[in-house]
């Protein structure tokens, strides 16, 4: 065998070994099932495909948790992991699912809205595949997903995405982004079916409020805030002012732009009677000018470059050496969600949504996120779900 052939053969063998090794890791990531312990408040668990048959049997189908109170009242839908690379959302949703009790009204939670995106990676961006949240009984392992659904589930992409029904031209990638495909359609691409199913849920269940939970860069002006269209603005403003004054963290309100289509806070408001809100919490991991994209950065939010940019006044949120830990972000989201419910309930007593045993910002900062997760090995029969 010539030297050249030898080099080629060895290269092919090395490549095959690396590809197989990586392939196993990708497979484990895509097929990892996250255990969710349904807490005492959960009364019913259905699938999103119950609202759009086209999702049945696909990777986009996902669990929908109902927490119904003894007394009739209003209804709220909480959507998490629209973008699966913003895991503050699913952590906040699970804190609610595993702990909250509803006294009046109904809380509906979709913890993994873009289920396909949570089983996707982000080539070029060097994310970890998993992250662990420490708890009192060990650690709880989560998939780190991507902003967009996996091309294994929805492909090919168009050369440009034409938004339904407004016809606005969007980036071709946005056809797999469930915060650009609202209000969706039953016979559209898979992610349009996901948002369509959620719209059907809102209509069929007569949902009063919808909250879409996100994380955003510290360099992004729309962060640490509630995004709301005109119809939700009053409640958003009062809720934001209240949490800022009473709970000791910064929050503001951003108006939902009328000319930017496909977003939950725009289309839910325009195509249903529900009042939509979108929450953003600062996530330094998502910023471009950071050090390595590690689990530590994801959970603690500490980064020397972001700290330096903060000193240069180039961030839109306060930032110091303590970073922006996950418990602060989850705490903010929990408090804002509870405050929006509270404000709505005060204005609409007959449609009130009263929730107990849900932690606020101070509780999460004190106890950590893992404190609120229950051991799946000790879960009662029938209360364990996998997503």
């Amino acid at each position: 065998m010539s030297r050249n052939s030898m080099i080629k053969t060895v290269s092919v063998i090395i490549f095959a070994v690396l590809t197989t090794w990586s392939g196993i890791q990708f497979y484990q990531h895509r097929h990892y099932q996250l255990p969710i312990v349904a807490g005492p408040g959960v009364t019913k668990v259905v699938k999103l495909s119950d609202y759009c048959a086209g999702l049945k049997g696909t990777m986009a189908d996902t669990h929908v948790f109902f927490l119904q109170g003894k007394e009739e009242g209003g209804k709220i839908l909480i959507i998490a992991n629209t973008h699966s690379n913003e895991p503050v959302a699913i952590l906040s949703a699970l804190v609610m699912i595993e702990n909250a009790r509803v006294e009046k009204g109904t809380v509906i939670i979709i913890p993994q809205f873009n289920n396909s995106g949570s089983r996707n990676t982000k080539p070029g961006d060097g994310y970890p595949l998993f992250f662990d949240v420490p708890t009192g009984w060990g650690s709880k392992k989560f998939r780190m997903g991507n902003r967009n659904a996996s091309p294994l589930d929805q492909w090919p992409d168009p050369d440009v995405y034409v938004h339904y029904p407004e016809r606005q031209l969007l980036s071709y990638l946005d056809v797999r982004n469930t915060n650009r495909t609202w209000p969706g359609r039953s016979d559209g691409p898979l992610m349009e079916k996901v948002t369509y199913a959620a719209m059907q849920l809102l209509r069929e269940e007569h949902v009063d409020l919808a909250i879409d939970i996100h994380g955003a860069e510290t360099m992004f002006p729309v962060t640490n805030c509630i995004v709301a269209p005109d119809k939700s603005m009053r409640i958003a403003t009062i809720a934001s002012m209240t949490v800022t004054a009473m709970e000791g963290f910064e929050n503001h309100v951003e108006p939902s732009p009328k000319g930017f289509r496909g977003l939950s806070h725009r289309e839910i408001g325009d195509y249903s009677d529900t009042l939509p809100f979108l929450l953003e919490a600062p996530t330094p991991f998502l910023d471009q000018p950071t050090g390595p994209k590690t689990v530590d950065l994801l959970l603690k939010g500490k980064d020397p470059f972001i700290l330096s940019l903060s000193k240069q006044k180039k961030l839109f949120v306060p930032y110091d050496k303590s970073g922006w830990p996950m418990e602060k972000r989850v705490g903010q989201h929990c408090s804002v969600v509870l405050e929006i419910m509270h404000q709505y309930s005060m204005k609409n007593p007959d449609r009130a949504i009263l929730v107990s045993n849900a932690p606020h910002y101070a509780d999460l900062v004190k106890n950590g996120v893992g404190h609120y997760f229950h051991n799946p090995n000790e879960a009662k029969k029938g209360s364990l779900y996998f997503n």
Binding site: W21, F26, P123, G124, P158, D159, M219, G291, S308
Partner: protein, 437 residues
Amino acid sequence: MVLHIGIILAIMILAYAWAGWKKLSVELCMLASAVAGGLAGAFIKTPPIGALARHLIEGTFTYLDVILVFTTATIFIAIVAESGGVNYVVRGIIKAFYRKRIIALLLLMVVILIPGALTGAGSVSILTVGAPSALALGYLGISKKKVTAILFIIAGLSAAAPPVNIWAMIVSAGTAIPYVGFELPLGIPVIVLGTFSMLVLGWKREEKKELEEILKEMPEVPDKMTWWRVLLPFLVFFGLIIVARIRPFSFPILGLPLEFTIAGIIALLVSPKKINILILSRDTVKLLLPLLATMAVVGSLQQIMTATGVRGMISYAVISMPLILLYFLLIIIIPFSEGILTYGGAAIIGIPLVWMLDSIGLHATVVIAGLSLLWPLGDGLPPTALIGRLSVMMADYKGSYWSFLKATWIPWIVITIVGILMIIFSAKLAFLVRWSM
């Protein structure tokens, strides 16, 4: 941490230089740099050694869609060329417009602009209409070097042209700025700069021949070749794109690779001569291999740079610059970010840059439009040099790569000045956005 990242960056540069010194190809130099950076990073678990292989392999998928488009589009155009279609078109253009040279130049500019404007990819312009345009420009008396320069500049502008500008779409998506109002801020500069570039590069007839003499020199075309045989595959391709735009909710999403494949099958069916598609595909892919390898390895390099923090440090360096210095350095930073990261440059540098410029009162949409004029220039710069290399290939230019790139200097400088001025005076140009809406 900052010191560690600095050391990793230095090791990556040294590995690239070492591979270059060993006379390895650009792709292998980049691979050496990525592997060395990954191993250096693994010492401090960024990334952990167990994840290194995954990062290297995952990175190769970053531009998989681009790789598929290049492959299918190049096979499509190779079928058209093999059938005699390219030569037939060129003969027709020369016959009709040889004595109306300026009109011929401007028509060719429009022809090159359309595919890129519709798809957002200058490479599609080059791959679909590049070869016949290059031949036609050659017969109009323009040297191969300048023909290559024209292809590169106009195809680059086509990618920036509305309605589809992928850089603007990526930055808009990342900054939550609606992708609306770009028609005039992008359309006017593209038309003006395209016309200017075409005339500057093509004005001088370097070789004067009689039309009859040229027609005699041109390659023969098969007897049965007709206009409809040439046009049908292109009509099918652009028809599929246009139908998808006009009836987006009832027409299935095919994607560019399948659209090119369908057009290729049509070209094969209407070809007046028999084509061995397997041999043609094999030879075409062989020709494309260095470019495809570059795209795969750039993805790996980008992933390792992110996993080690090198990418973040570079992004930080850009964002931290004093504003005046930044304006001057944008003329280097933006094209080079495209040359290294292709569309990744728009995400890594473009998004934080637009946030920062927006926060000091500049108009984000016009800023993105201005930056969009600078990004295509980077498609001529190594290591990727996507459009530059395709232009050289389609124009069949045999000179050195740098000699062709040097020929673009006047349009390059003018495009840069226009782009930078659009950024600086974006607030005053905001009326273009309003008029577009």
